[in-house]
C-alpha cells in the first residue's frame, strides 16, 4: 500500500466515524417511535453566547416501590424503563427492568442510566432493594435554538407547560424531535 493510500484510508475512516454518529441519529428520527414527555425546565444556563436548558422529566425520578419490574439497581447501571401512553398522548413510566423487556401495543422502552439511588432501609444485606432511582436518558440538555421561542428566555417562566417530543429506536435510545412551550412548537431539523 502506498503512503498516499494509507493516508487516504485513515482520512476516510475518520470521516466515516463522524458521519456514522449523524447517521445513527437520522435512523432513530426516521424509524423511531414518537413519544411526548412532560418536563420542567430545571434551569436555564447561559453559555458564552447562547442559552442551554436542562429538562427535569417526570420519568427522571422513579419510585420503584410503586412500579413493577426489577428493583435491585446499582449506581450507573443501565435501566430499561417501559413507558405507557396516557389519554392526553403523554407517556409515563410503567415498569423498570435490568434487561430489555417485551413490549405490547402502546408501549415503548426507554434506555437510561441510574445516576442516583435510594435504598430501602431495614433490609439486611445482601438483598439491597432500591426505593428510588434518578435516571438519565440523554435528552436532558437542550441548546435553545436562536429565535425558536419568543421571548428568548421562554424556559425561565415556571408557569409555562413544556413538553418534549422524542423519537425512540429499537434499542431504547431517544432523540429530541421537538419542544413545545404552551402552544408554541419548535421542530428539530433532521440535519
Amino acid at each position: 500500500m502506498t503512503r498516499g493510500l494509507r493516508y487516504a484510508t485513515v482520512t476516510g475512516l475518520l470521516v466515516l466515524a463522524l458521519a456514522a454518529l449523524i447517521g445513527a441519529r437520522i435512523y432513530t428520527l426516521e424509524s423511531g417511535y414518537e413519544i411526548r414527555l412532560r418536563t420542567t425546565p430545571m434551569n436555564v444556563e447561559p453559555l458564552i453566547l447562547g442559552e442551554e436548558v436542562r429538562f427535569n422529566y417526570e420519568i427522571a425520578r422513579l419510585n420503584l416501590t410503586a412500579l413493577p419490574g426489577d428493583n435491585q439497581f446499582e449506581l450507573y447501571d443501565t435501566v430499561y424503563v417501559k413507558l405507557g401512553r396516557l389519554p392526553g398522548n403523554f407517556w409515563v413510566a410503567k415498569s423498570t427492568h435490568i434487561e430489555p423487556p417485551p413490549m405490547l401495543d402502546n408501549e415503548v422502552v426507554l434506555k437510561g442510566e441510574v445516576t442516583a439511588l435510594k435504598r430501602l432501609e431495614n433490609i439486611p444485606p445482601p438483598v439491597l432493594i432500591t426505593k428510588e432511582i434518578a435516571v438519565r436518558y440523554g435528552i436532558e440538555r437542550y441548546a435553545v435554538p436562536r429565535g425558536a421561542f419568543e421571548p428568548p428566555s421562554a424556559f425561565s417562566n415556571p408557569r409555562r407547560a413544556v413538553t418534549v417530543h422524542a423519537a425512540v429506536n429499537d434499542q431504547g435510545r431517544a432523540v429530541i424531535t421537538g419542544v413545545r412551550i404552551n402552544n408554541e412548537f419548535y421542530e428539530e431539523p433532521v440535519l
Binding site: 503512503r3 494509507r6 482520512t11 466515524a17 441519529r25 453559555l47 447562547g50 440523554g138 429530541i176
Partner: protein, 433 residues
Amino acid sequence: MVTDRELDKLRADLDRWVAQGVISPARREAILAEITARPARTGRGGFSVMPFIMSVLIAAGATVILMGFADPALIPRPLAVLILMLSAAAALVLAHSLTARNRAVASEVAVLVGLGLFGASLFFITNVYFIHVHPPDLVAVWAAASLIAAIALPSRGALAMGLVTATIWSLMEVQDYRTVFHWEYLPLWLIAVAWTIVLRWRTGLHLAVLGFTAWSSVNLIVGAQLLGWGVLDVLGLGIIISTAVWVTGRYLETRPFPFPRTLEYYGLALALLHVFLLRFYTQYQAPYPIWQMFAGFSALTVVALALSTFPRDREPLTAVLGLLFVGVLYPNLAPMPALYESLFVIQHGLFILLALWVTVHGARLRDSVIVALGLTGLCAEIVEFYATQTGAGPGDNILIGLGFVLAAVCIAAAVIAHRTIFKGGRQARGGES
C-alpha cells in the same frame, strides 16, 4: 528542497548515467549535493498553495468548535459538521504533503491536529445533535482511531495521542463511573507498547509507562475505597511518593547515578497527575472545600513547575514563595469569598504567564520535557478558564475541554517525540537520554 520521491528518481537516473559513462561519479555527487542544498520552493504553483488551503480549513474547523461550544445555535449544524469533517481530512492531507517534503516534525504536528479535531468533533456532534452517548465510549473511539493511524501511517504523534486518549478513557471509566479494575485498557495499551517497540521510540515507551502508572493509580484508588481507605489519603500518599521520587532525582543529579533526570521527570509528572486527581475528587468529597483544593492545586503546580526550571541556587527562594502562596495568601482568603472570586481571573492570568515562561525557559534550556510541561500546563489552564466561563459543571468540563486538552497535550508530546528540534539540548544539560 526536493521531495523524497524526486530525489530517489534523480539518484536512479544519475546511477544509470554513471553506468552508461555519460557522467563521472564525481559529477554525480556534485549534482546531488547541489540539488539537496537548494532552498525550499516558494513558487505559486498549485501544489504549494495546497498547504495554505489546508491550513485555512484547519483553522475553520477549530473556529467551528470554539464557536459551537460557546453557542451551539450559532452555526447551522450541517455546515458545522461539513467544516469539521473537511478540517480533520485537511490536516491529514497536509500531513501527507509535509511528509513528501521531508518535513517530518511538521507532518507529525499536522497528524496530531487532525486527530485532535476528530476527537473534538466527536464531542461536538454528540452535543449539538443531542445524541446520548456514554462519554468514555467517545474517548475509546478516539483512542482506537489514533492507534489505527499510528500503525497505518505510521506516526509517533498518533501513537502518543492513542496512548494519552486510551489512558484518559480508562480514567473516565474508573473515576466517573466507578468501574472496578478497568481491564479493557490493557489490550489497547499493549498494542501501543508493541508498536512503540516496533518504532524503537524511547519517549513513547516513557509515555506508556506513565499511562500505565496513571491507570494503576486510579484503579488502586477504587480498590482502596473498597478496603475502606479514603480517596484523599491514597492521593495524598501518591503525591508524597511522587514528590519524593522527584526530589531524589534532583538530588542525584550531582551524584554518580545513571538516570537522575528520568527519575526527576517521572516524579514530577506523577506528582502533577495526582494533584489533578485530587482536584477532581475534591469536587465530590466533603468536607474539603473546593476552593482550598483548587488553590492547593494551582499553588503546588506553580511550585513544581518553577522548581523544575529554576537554577539550583534559587530553589529555596521559589519554595519559600510557593509555601507563602499556599500557607498564607490562600487561607486568608477563606473568610472573603468575594475577594477570592475577584482574584479568580488574576490567578488564571498568573498561571498562564508562568506556564508561558516555563515554555520559553525550556526552549532556552533546550529541554523538550520542560517545554512539554509548560505547554501542557498552559493548555490545561486555558481550558479550565474556558470551562469556568461557560458555566459548565465538573462532568461537562471533561466533555467541553477534552478536545483542547488532548490536542495540546499531544502537541506537547510531539515536541518530546521530535527531539530533532532540540538538537544539542542534551549536551547543554547533560548527556542522559
